[in-house]
Amino acid sequence: MVLEVKDLRYHLPGNGRPLVDGISFSVGAGETLVMLGRSGAGKTTTLKLVNRLLEPSSGDVRVSGTPAHAVEPTKLRRRIGYVIQEIGLFPHFTVAANVGLLPRLARWPSDRIDARVRELLALVGLEPAEFAARFPHQLSGGQRQRVGVARALALDPQLLLLDEPFGALDPITRLELQREFRALASKLGKAAVFVTHDVREGLLLGTRIGLLDGGRLAFLGTPDDFRASPQPEVRKFMEAA
Protein backbone atom coordinates (compact mmCIF):
# COMPACT_ATOMS: atom_id res chain seq x y z
CA MET A 1 0.00 0.00 0.00
CA VAL A 2 1.28 3.44 -0.91
CA LEU A 3 -0.79 5.19 1.75
CA GLU A 4 -2.06 3.66 4.96
CA VAL A 5 -4.05 5.71 7.43
CA LYS A 6 -5.08 4.18 10.71
CA ASP A 7 -7.42 5.64 13.30
CA LEU A 8 -6.52 9.20 12.38
CA ARG A 9 -7.79 11.90 14.70
CA TYR A 10 -7.41 15.64 14.71
CA HIS A 11 -8.83 18.34 16.90
CA LEU A 12 -7.81 21.92 17.23
CA PRO A 13 -5.71 22.88 20.26
CA GLY A 14 -8.12 23.20 23.18
CA ASN A 15 -11.03 20.84 23.48
CA GLY A 16 -13.25 21.39 20.48
CA ARG A 17 -15.17 18.83 18.46
CA PRO A 18 -12.70 16.68 16.55
CA LEU A 19 -12.48 17.71 12.88
CA VAL A 20 -11.26 14.25 11.91
CA ASP A 21 -12.56 11.55 14.18
CA GLY A 22 -10.85 8.18 13.89
CA ILE A 23 -10.71 7.40 10.19
CA SER A 24 -8.82 4.53 8.56
CA PHE A 25 -8.23 3.78 4.90
CA SER A 26 -5.50 2.73 2.54
CA VAL A 27 -4.71 3.49 -1.09
CA GLY A 28 -2.63 1.27 -3.36
CA ALA A 29 -0.75 2.00 -6.57
CA GLY A 30 -3.08 2.78 -9.46
CA GLU A 31 -5.98 3.49 -7.12
CA THR A 32 -7.84 6.78 -6.83
CA LEU A 33 -9.68 7.17 -3.56
CA VAL A 34 -12.23 9.94 -3.85
CA MET A 35 -13.04 11.68 -0.60
CA LEU A 36 -16.56 13.03 -0.78
CA GLY A 37 -18.31 15.10 1.83
CA ARG A 38 -20.02 18.38 2.55
CA SER A 39 -18.06 21.49 3.36
CA GLY A 40 -16.52 21.10 6.80
CA ALA A 41 -16.76 17.30 6.77
CA GLY A 42 -12.98 17.04 7.20
CA LYS A 43 -11.86 16.32 3.63
CA THR A 44 -9.18 18.97 3.32
CA THR A 45 -8.11 18.43 6.92
CA THR A 46 -7.55 14.74 6.16
CA LEU A 47 -5.28 15.59 3.21
CA LYS A 48 -3.30 18.04 5.31
CA LEU A 49 -2.87 15.42 8.03
CA VAL A 50 -1.33 13.09 5.45
CA ASN A 51 1.34 15.54 4.27
CA ARG A 52 1.70 17.07 7.74
CA LEU A 53 0.56 20.56 6.91
CA LEU A 54 -1.38 19.69 10.05
CA GLU A 55 -0.10 17.39 12.78
CA PRO A 56 -2.47 14.54 13.74
CA SER A 57 -3.66 14.48 17.34
CA SER A 58 -3.41 10.70 17.21
CA GLY A 59 -3.35 7.86 14.73
CA ASP A 60 -0.91 6.53 12.21
CA VAL A 61 -0.06 7.65 8.67
CA ARG A 62 2.33 5.59 6.54
CA VAL A 63 3.56 6.57 3.10
CA SER A 64 5.13 3.68 1.17
CA GLY A 65 5.49 1.88 4.49
CA THR A 66 7.36 4.67 6.29
CA PRO A 67 5.61 6.35 9.22
CA ALA A 68 4.99 9.97 8.22
CA HIS A 69 5.91 11.26 11.67
CA ALA A 70 9.37 9.70 11.35
CA VAL A 71 10.25 11.84 8.32
CA GLU A 72 10.99 15.55 8.26
CA PRO A 73 7.83 17.28 6.94
CA THR A 74 9.59 18.91 3.97
CA LYS A 75 11.15 15.58 2.93
CA LEU A 76 7.81 13.83 3.31
CA ARG A 77 6.04 16.43 1.17
CA ARG A 78 8.56 16.13 -1.64
CA ARG A 79 7.51 12.51 -1.95
CA ILE A 80 3.84 13.48 -2.19
CA GLY A 81 2.34 15.45 -5.07
CA TYR A 82 -0.07 18.12 -3.86
CA VAL A 83 -2.57 20.00 -6.00
CA ILE A 84 -5.01 22.54 -4.58
CA GLN A 85 -7.99 24.31 -6.12
CA GLU A 86 -6.32 27.71 -6.22
CA ILE A 87 -3.30 25.93 -7.76
CA GLY A 88 -0.87 28.42 -6.24
CA LEU A 89 1.46 28.67 -9.22
CA PHE A 90 4.33 31.04 -8.49
CA PRO A 91 3.33 34.14 -10.47
CA HIS A 92 6.90 35.38 -10.96
CA PHE A 93 8.10 32.05 -12.39
CA THR A 94 7.55 30.82 -15.93
CA VAL A 95 5.65 27.61 -16.49
CA ALA A 96 8.96 25.78 -16.91
CA ALA A 97 10.35 27.27 -13.67
CA ASN A 98 7.19 26.33 -11.78
CA VAL A 99 7.28 22.73 -12.97
CA GLY A 100 11.05 22.46 -12.55
CA LEU A 101 11.23 24.03 -9.09
CA LEU A 102 11.44 20.87 -6.99
CA PRO A 103 14.01 19.24 -9.31
CA ARG A 104 15.99 22.46 -9.07
CA LEU A 105 15.83 22.43 -5.28
CA ALA A 106 16.90 18.79 -5.43
CA ARG A 107 19.94 20.01 -7.41
CA TRP A 108 19.30 18.08 -10.59
CA PRO A 109 21.59 19.10 -13.49
CA SER A 110 19.85 21.67 -15.67
CA ASP A 111 19.62 19.53 -18.83
CA ARG A 112 17.86 16.84 -16.83
CA ILE A 113 15.45 19.44 -15.43
CA ASP A 114 14.73 20.75 -18.94
CA ALA A 115 14.04 17.25 -20.22
CA ARG A 116 11.77 16.49 -17.26
CA VAL A 117 9.83 19.74 -17.70
CA ARG A 118 9.24 19.02 -21.40
CA GLU A 119 8.16 15.47 -20.63
CA LEU A 120 5.72 16.60 -17.94
CA LEU A 121 4.18 19.39 -20.00
CA ALA A 122 3.59 16.97 -22.87
CA LEU A 123 2.09 14.53 -20.40
CA VAL A 124 -0.54 17.03 -19.23
CA GLY A 125 -1.31 18.10 -22.79
CA LEU A 126 0.62 21.35 -23.02
CA GLU A 127 2.95 21.81 -25.99
CA PRO A 128 6.33 22.53 -24.30
CA ALA A 129 7.59 24.85 -27.06
CA GLU A 130 4.48 26.97 -26.74
CA PHE A 131 3.98 27.04 -22.98
CA ALA A 132 7.33 26.62 -21.21
CA ALA A 133 8.27 30.31 -21.33
CA ARG A 134 4.84 31.69 -20.44
CA PHE A 135 3.91 33.16 -17.09
CA PRO A 136 0.91 31.83 -15.15
CA HIS A 137 -1.19 34.95 -15.80
CA GLN A 138 -0.87 34.25 -19.54
CA LEU A 139 -2.69 30.92 -19.16
CA SER A 140 -6.34 29.98 -18.99
CA GLY A 141 -7.73 28.37 -15.83
CA GLY A 142 -7.58 24.90 -17.35
CA GLN A 143 -4.02 25.38 -18.55
CA ARG A 144 -2.99 26.61 -15.12
CA GLN A 145 -4.47 23.55 -13.51
CA ARG A 146 -2.55 21.34 -15.97
CA VAL A 147 0.65 23.09 -14.95
CA GLY A 148 -0.30 22.49 -11.31
CA VAL A 149 -0.62 18.76 -11.98
CA ALA A 150 2.66 18.70 -13.93
CA ARG A 151 4.41 20.47 -11.05
CA ALA A 152 3.04 17.95 -8.55
CA LEU A 153 4.43 15.10 -10.66
CA ALA A 154 7.90 16.64 -11.01
CA LEU A 155 9.76 14.35 -8.61
CA ASP A 156 7.69 11.32 -9.65
CA PRO A 157 5.91 10.88 -6.30
CA GLN A 158 4.06 7.61 -5.72
CA LEU A 159 1.24 9.43 -3.96
CA LEU A 160 -0.86 12.37 -5.14
CA LEU A 161 -3.14 14.47 -2.96
CA LEU A 162 -5.65 16.56 -4.88
CA ASP A 163 -7.92 19.05 -3.14
CA GLU A 164 -10.81 19.95 -5.45
CA PRO A 165 -8.34 20.55 -8.25
CA PHE A 166 -11.01 21.18 -10.88
CA GLY A 167 -13.42 23.06 -8.63
CA ALA A 168 -12.90 26.50 -10.14
CA LEU A 169 -13.14 25.49 -13.81
CA ASP A 170 -16.00 25.92 -16.25
CA PRO A 171 -18.04 22.71 -16.82
CA ILE A 172 -16.57 21.90 -20.24
CA THR A 173 -12.92 22.37 -19.28
CA ARG A 174 -13.71 20.53 -16.10
CA LEU A 175 -15.02 17.44 -17.89
CA GLU A 176 -12.05 17.53 -20.24
CA LEU A 177 -9.60 17.58 -17.35
CA GLN A 178 -11.51 14.91 -15.44
CA ARG A 179 -11.28 12.54 -18.41
CA GLU A 180 -7.61 13.27 -18.88
CA PHE A 181 -6.92 12.83 -15.21
CA ARG A 182 -8.57 9.42 -15.25
CA ALA A 183 -6.46 8.35 -18.21
CA LEU A 184 -3.32 9.79 -16.63
CA ALA A 185 -3.93 8.17 -13.25
CA SER A 186 -4.31 4.68 -14.70
CA LYS A 187 -1.38 5.19 -17.07
CA LEU A 188 1.03 6.37 -14.37
CA GLY A 189 -0.15 3.94 -11.72
CA LYS A 190 -0.01 6.51 -8.93
CA ALA A 191 -1.96 6.25 -5.74
CA ALA A 192 -4.22 9.28 -5.43
CA VAL A 193 -6.53 10.79 -2.85
CA PHE A 194 -8.94 13.13 -4.60
CA VAL A 195 -11.09 15.45 -2.55
CA THR A 196 -14.32 16.80 -4.02
CA HIS A 197 -17.88 17.60 -3.05
CA ASP A 198 -19.12 16.77 -6.54
CA VAL A 199 -20.62 13.26 -6.59
CA ARG A 200 -20.51 12.95 -10.35
CA GLU A 201 -16.84 13.83 -10.40
CA GLY A 202 -16.27 11.34 -7.60
CA LEU A 203 -18.07 8.52 -9.38
CA LEU A 204 -16.21 9.26 -12.61
CA LEU A 205 -12.73 9.36 -11.12
CA GLY A 206 -12.80 7.14 -8.06
CA THR A 207 -11.77 3.53 -8.01
CA ARG A 208 -13.10 3.77 -4.47
CA ILE A 209 -15.23 6.34 -2.70
CA GLY A 210 -14.94 7.48 0.88
CA LEU A 211 -17.73 9.60 2.28
CA LEU A 212 -16.83 11.84 5.20
CA ASP A 213 -19.54 13.05 7.51
CA GLY A 214 -18.66 15.06 10.60
CA GLY A 215 -15.06 13.84 10.56
CA ARG A 216 -15.98 10.15 10.29
CA LEU A 217 -15.96 7.83 7.30
CA ALA A 218 -19.66 7.15 6.79
CA PHE A 219 -18.95 5.01 3.75
CA LEU A 220 -15.93 3.43 2.09
CA GLY A 221 -16.29 1.23 -0.98
CA THR A 222 -16.48 0.99 -4.75
CA PRO A 223 -18.53 3.43 -6.84
CA ASP A 224 -21.06 0.64 -7.53
CA ASP A 225 -21.49 -0.08 -3.83
CA PHE A 226 -21.80 3.66 -3.28
CA ARG A 227 -24.68 3.93 -5.75
CA ALA A 228 -26.45 1.04 -4.05
CA SER A 229 -25.72 1.92 -0.43
CA PRO A 230 -28.70 2.59 1.86
CA GLN A 231 -26.56 4.75 4.16
CA PRO A 232 -28.56 8.00 4.69
CA GLU A 233 -25.71 10.46 3.94
CA VAL A 234 -24.86 8.47 0.80
CA ARG A 235 -28.50 8.65 -0.28
CA LYS A 236 -28.49 12.41 0.15
CA PHE A 237 -25.43 12.68 -2.05
CA MET A 238 -26.89 10.33 -4.69
CA GLU A 239 -30.08 12.39 -4.79
CA ALA A 240 -28.02 15.52 -5.38
CA ALA A 241 -26.18 13.92 -8.29
Binding site: G81, Y82, F90, H92
Partner: protein
Protein backbone atom coordinates in the same frame (compact mmCIF):
# COMPACT_ATOMS: atom_id res chain seq x y z
CA UNK B 1 23.72 58.40 3.79
CA UNK B 2 24.51 55.27 1.80
CA UNK B 3 25.94 53.73 4.97
CA UNK B 4 22.87 54.56 6.99
CA UNK B 5 20.41 53.27 4.39
CA UNK B 6 22.51 50.12 4.07
CA UNK B 7 22.44 49.64 7.82
CA UNK B 8 18.73 50.34 7.93
CA UNK B 9 18.20 47.70 5.24
CA UNK B 10 20.40 45.29 7.18
CA UNK B 11 18.20 45.67 10.27
CA UNK B 12 14.94 46.54 8.58
CA UNK B 13 14.64 43.60 6.21
CA UNK B 14 14.91 40.86 8.87
CA UNK B 15 12.63 42.88 11.15
CA UNK B 16 10.05 43.14 8.37
CA UNK B 17 10.24 39.39 7.74
CA UNK B 18 9.95 38.70 11.48
CA UNK B 19 6.92 40.92 11.76
CA UNK B 20 5.28 39.33 8.71
CA UNK B 21 5.74 35.78 10.02
CA UNK B 22 5.09 36.39 13.72
CA UNK B 23 2.02 38.55 14.23
CA UNK B 24 2.82 38.95 17.94
CA UNK B 25 5.82 41.13 17.05
CA UNK B 26 3.86 43.35 14.70
CA UNK B 27 2.59 45.94 17.16
CA UNK B 28 5.76 46.43 19.23
CA UNK B 29 8.15 46.59 16.25
CA UNK B 30 6.03 48.78 13.97
CA UNK B 31 4.97 50.89 16.94
CA UNK B 32 8.55 51.55 18.02
CA UNK B 33 9.66 52.35 14.47
CA UNK B 34 6.70 54.70 14.25
CA UNK B 35 7.72 56.46 17.47
CA UNK B 36 11.24 57.04 16.11
CA UNK B 37 9.81 58.35 12.87
CA UNK B 38 7.63 60.84 14.72
CA UNK B 39 10.43 62.48 16.72
CA UNK B 40 11.60 65.65 14.91
CA UNK B 41 15.07 65.19 13.48
CA UNK B 42 16.75 67.98 15.45
CA UNK B 43 15.20 66.65 18.66
CA UNK B 44 16.47 63.15 17.84
CA UNK B 45 19.96 64.54 17.24
CA UNK B 46 19.65 66.26 20.62
CA UNK B 47 18.69 62.99 22.28
CA UNK B 48 21.54 61.06 20.64
CA UNK B 49 24.37 63.56 21.27
CA UNK B 50 24.71 62.62 24.97
CA UNK B 51 25.19 59.00 23.88
CA UNK B 52 27.33 59.26 20.74
CA UNK B 53 28.76 62.78 21.09
CA UNK B 54 28.86 65.39 18.38
CA UNK B 55 29.72 64.13 14.91
CA UNK B 56 29.09 61.62 12.18
CA UNK B 57 28.07 58.65 14.35
CA UNK B 58 25.18 60.50 15.88
CA UNK B 59 24.03 61.48 12.41
CA UNK B 60 24.35 57.93 11.07
CA UNK B 61 22.45 56.49 14.02
CA UNK B 62 19.65 58.99 13.56
CA UNK B 63 19.47 58.26 9.84
CA UNK B 64 19.26 54.51 10.46
CA UNK B 65 16.48 55.04 12.95
CA UNK B 66 14.55 57.18 10.45
CA UNK B 67 15.08 54.83 7.53
CA UNK B 68 13.95 51.83 9.56
CA UNK B 69 10.22 52.44 9.50
CA UNK B 70 9.66 52.66 5.73
CA UNK B 71 11.81 49.57 5.19
CA UNK B 72 10.28 47.45 7.95
CA UNK B 73 6.75 48.50 7.08
CA UNK B 74 7.14 47.93 3.36
CA UNK B 75 8.86 44.56 3.82
CA UNK B 76 6.01 43.52 6.06
CA UNK B 77 3.35 44.81 3.65
CA UNK B 78 5.02 43.09 0.70
CA UNK B 79 5.33 39.70 2.37
CA UNK B 80 1.89 39.84 3.94
CA UNK B 81 0.50 40.56 0.47
CA UNK B 82 1.76 37.28 -1.01
CA UNK B 83 -1.21 35.16 -2.06
CA UNK B 84 -2.02 32.59 0.64
CA UNK B 85 -2.56 29.91 -2.02
CA UNK B 86 0.96 30.47 -3.35
CA UNK B 87 2.42 30.07 0.13
CA UNK B 88 0.30 26.99 0.82
CA UNK B 89 1.27 25.40 -2.49
CA UNK B 90 4.93 26.05 -1.74
CA UNK B 91 4.72 24.53 1.72
CA UNK B 92 2.61 21.66 0.43
CA UNK B 93 5.17 20.72 -2.20
CA UNK B 94 7.88 20.54 0.42
CA UNK B 95 9.72 23.86 0.29
CA UNK B 96 11.47 24.78 3.52
CA UNK B 97 10.65 28.12 5.17
CA UNK B 98 14.00 29.46 3.95
CA UNK B 99 13.36 28.40 0.35
CA UNK B 100 9.90 29.88 0.46
CA UNK B 101 11.28 33.18 1.77
CA UNK B 102 14.18 33.36 -0.68
CA UNK B 103 12.45 32.15 -3.84
CA UNK B 104 8.89 33.27 -3.36
CA UNK B 105 8.17 35.76 -0.60
CA UNK B 106 11.10 38.16 -1.01
CA UNK B 107 10.96 38.25 -4.84
CA UNK B 108 7.21 38.88 -4.77
CA UNK B 109 7.67 41.54 -2.08
CA UNK B 110 10.65 43.15 -3.83
CA UNK B 111 8.60 45.97 -5.31
CA UNK B 112 7.36 47.06 -1.90
CA UNK B 113 10.77 46.62 -0.28
CA UNK B 114 12.55 48.73 -2.89
CA UNK B 115 9.87 51.40 -2.66
CA UNK B 116 10.60 51.48 1.08
CA UNK B 117 14.33 51.80 0.42
CA UNK B 118 13.61 54.66 -1.96
CA UNK B 119 11.57 56.54 0.60
CA UNK B 120 14.21 55.86 3.25
CA UNK B 121 16.97 57.16 0.99
CA UNK B 122 15.23 60.37 0.06
CA UNK B 123 14.32 61.05 3.70
CA UNK B 124 17.94 60.34 4.63
CA UNK B 125 19.30 62.96 2.22
CA UNK B 126 17.05 65.53 3.84
CA UNK B 127 18.00 64.65 7.36
CA UNK B 128 21.69 64.30 6.49
CA UNK B 129 21.60 67.92 5.33
CA UNK B 130 20.29 69.01 8.72
CA UNK B 131 22.99 66.91 10.40
CA UNK B 132 25.46 69.71 9.67
CA UNK B 133 23.86 71.45 12.62
CA UNK B 134 25.44 68.92 14.97
CA UNK B 135 28.84 69.01 13.33
CA UNK B 136 28.46 65.93 11.17
CA UNK B 137 29.60 67.80 8.10
CA UNK B 138 28.01 67.37 4.69
CA UNK B 139 26.32 69.74 2.29
CA UNK B 140 24.26 71.24 5.08
CA UNK B 141 27.43 72.98 6.31
CA UNK B 142 27.33 75.33 3.29
CA UNK B 143 23.67 76.05 3.80
CA UNK B 144 24.01 76.85 7.51
CA UNK B 145 27.15 78.92 6.89
CA UNK B 146 25.43 80.76 4.06
CA UNK B 147 22.41 81.51 6.25
CA UNK B 148 24.72 82.80 9.03
CA UNK B 149 26.63 85.11 6.67
CA UNK B 150 23.57 86.04 4.55
CA UNK B 151 25.41 84.67 1.49
CA UNK B 152 22.95 83.33 -1.11
CA UNK B 153 25.72 81.86 -3.26
CA UNK B 154 26.95 79.76 -0.36
CA UNK B 155 23.40 78.64 0.48
CA UNK B 156 22.81 77.51 -3.08
CA UNK B 157 26.21 75.78 -3.17
CA UNK B 158 24.81 73.50 -0.48
CA UNK B 159 21.15 73.43 -1.44
CA UNK B 160 21.45 72.63 -5.14
CA UNK B 161 23.76 69.61 -4.74
CA UNK B 162 21.62 68.35 -1.84
CA UNK B 163 18.49 68.56 -3.97
CA UNK B 164 20.25 66.94 -6.92
CA UNK B 165 21.57 64.19 -4.66
CA UNK B 166 18.07 63.36 -3.48
CA UNK B 167 16.70 63.37 -7.03
CA UNK B 168 19.61 61.31 -8.33
CA UNK B 169 19.32 58.71 -5.57
CA UNK B 170 15.60 58.45 -6.21
CA UNK B 171 16.09 58.06 -9.96
CA UNK B 172 18.84 55.45 -9.53
CA UNK B 173 16.72 53.37 -7.19
CA UNK B 174 13.85 53.73 -9.63
CA UNK B 175 16.04 52.12 -12.29
CA UNK B 176 17.04 49.33 -9.90
CA UNK B 177 13.38 48.79 -9.10
CA UNK B 178 12.44 48.44 -12.77
CA UNK B 179 15.33 46.07 -13.38
CA UNK B 180 14.86 43.81 -10.40
CA UNK B 181 11.20 43.71 -9.69
CA UNK B 182 9.00 41.16 -11.31
CA UNK B 183 5.82 42.71 -12.58
CA UNK B 184 2.79 41.24 -14.26
CA UNK B 185 2.99 42.46 -17.85
Amino acid sequence: MAISTGLALLFGLPLGVLVAHHPAWRRPVLGLANVFQTIPSLALFGLLIPVFGIGAWTAITALVVYALLPIVRNTYTGIAGVDAAVREAGRGMGMTDGELLRLVELPLAAGFILAGVRIATVVSVGIATIAAAIGAGGLGVYIFRGVATVDNTLILAGAIPAALLALLADALLGVVERRLVWRQR
